[in-house]
Amino acid sequence: MKHLEEAELVEHYYEESANMADSERHLKACPVCAKRYAELCRDLDGVATPTPPARREDYIEQVWQSIGASLPVYEKPRRSWIRYYRPLGWAAACVLLVAVTFVAGRRWERKQASSVAVAVDPHARQRVVIVVLGDHLDRSERLLVQLNHADGNDLSASPLRSEARELLASNRLVRQSAVQAGDLNVEASLDRLERLLMELSNEPDNLTEADLNRLRQEMNTDGLLFDIRVLRSWVRSPGPEQQSAPATKGVPI
């Protein structure tokens, strides 16, 4: 039989043993441990618990006199106000932050937009117009050259007509831009081109040599081709000197 350690006996005495029932059973069954436990009880029971002497009636007052002067008065806490309003403060700060961010964003956006506008107008915008106009004039010139050189062996109007319909839409836009810009020369040339494109778009599929000649004469396609070439030369050299003195040299055919 394994005897109880002294620490276990002490735990049993103070009723803090993890297995009180087991140690109790062991102490009943083991005379050696029972004797040791009896000695422990005798020793610890013999340790007297001192009774503190009674205090005088004015003892508390006496203690207060000795410490009272050194005790600071607590200030009425303002923290309670802060505690109640702190969440509101945070909410207000968040709202303010969002508002400031929004306003700053709007201002930044406006600034960016105005700078973009400045960038586009006038130089960038002019470059875009030149590219679009140049492309339109190139295609129109090719169409006029084809029309001027078409003969009796090449009388299918279908490719010319489809090209004329596509150019008709873009020509209207370009002409309106010229009107808005107040460029009357360009506007007049594009107006003539538009009338030709309109006629060509509405021609029947089978064109005769006579139909072609009539169209060339009525629309003065040679003169129109010359105007288009002049316009195209302006577009390719948009400097002030060339604008004032347009090149007369056309595109080699």
Binding site: G46, P53, Y59, G68
Partner: protein, 193 residues
């Protein structure tokens, strides 16, 4: 006093709001417990009184940090155990047991009973008391406090650990070491009986 019927927490709030005098009510409520613990740990009245002053001073200063997780009685009890422990630790080097000639209860010396002084029972009783005092003074402050809280104040190991701010196992060991030392010191008495 107008605060006598109020709860501890109401009084605490009043003190923290600037009513310093309300602290006297808490002192009146807990002086007895605080003094009893301090007296049993320090072993003499003057040290206990010093500890009591320190307890109420610290209690007032720490009142704002009291969160009510334990009762205020337990809170003051812990402060009392700590303050008494410090007082014992402070006095310990000069508190070596000496055999006194006179029977002066205010002195910390051990008065051994005169063997020729009276009947056997009285002699034994005085002998035990004297030996016990001597044995208690041999304990370390932690052992002494742990033993007092366990044996005299009937506190659990967990409560002792919390009061001394040590681990429960360390508290249990401190009690066990104190018991061993006391038994060794008191053993000669039982040989003669």
């Amino acid at each position: 006093m107008r605060w006598m019927e109020e709860s501890d927490d109401s009084i605490r709030r009043a003190i923290l709001s600037g009513d310093k005098e309300a602290y006297k009510v808490l002192m009146a409520r807990y002086t007895q417990i605080v003094f009893r613990v301090a007296y049993r740990i320090t072993g003499n009245e003057s040290d206990a009184e010093e500890a009591v002053q320190e307890v109420f001073l610290r209690g007032y200063q720490a009142l704002a940090t009291f969160q009510g997780r334990s009762s205020m009685a337990t809170w003051f009890y812990r402060i009392a155990a700590n303050c008494a422990l410090e007082v014992v630790g402070k006095r310990r080097p000069e508190a070596q047991s000496r055999i006194a000639e006179e029977n002066d209860p205010e002195r910390s010396e051990v008065q051994l009973a005169d063997i020729k002084a009276g009947p056997d029972r009285l002699l034994l009783s005085r002998e035990i008391e004297a030996r016990q005092q001597a044995a208690m003074s041999e304990l370390t402050p932690t052992e002494r406090t742990a033993f007092v809280l366990r044996h005299m104040e009937d506190r659990s190991t967990e409560e002792i650990a919390a009061a001394l701010n040590i681990a429960p196992n360390a508290a249990k060991q401190a009690v066990f070491r104190a018991v061993q030392k006391l038994r060794r010191q008191l053993a000669p008495l039982w040989v003669n009986t």
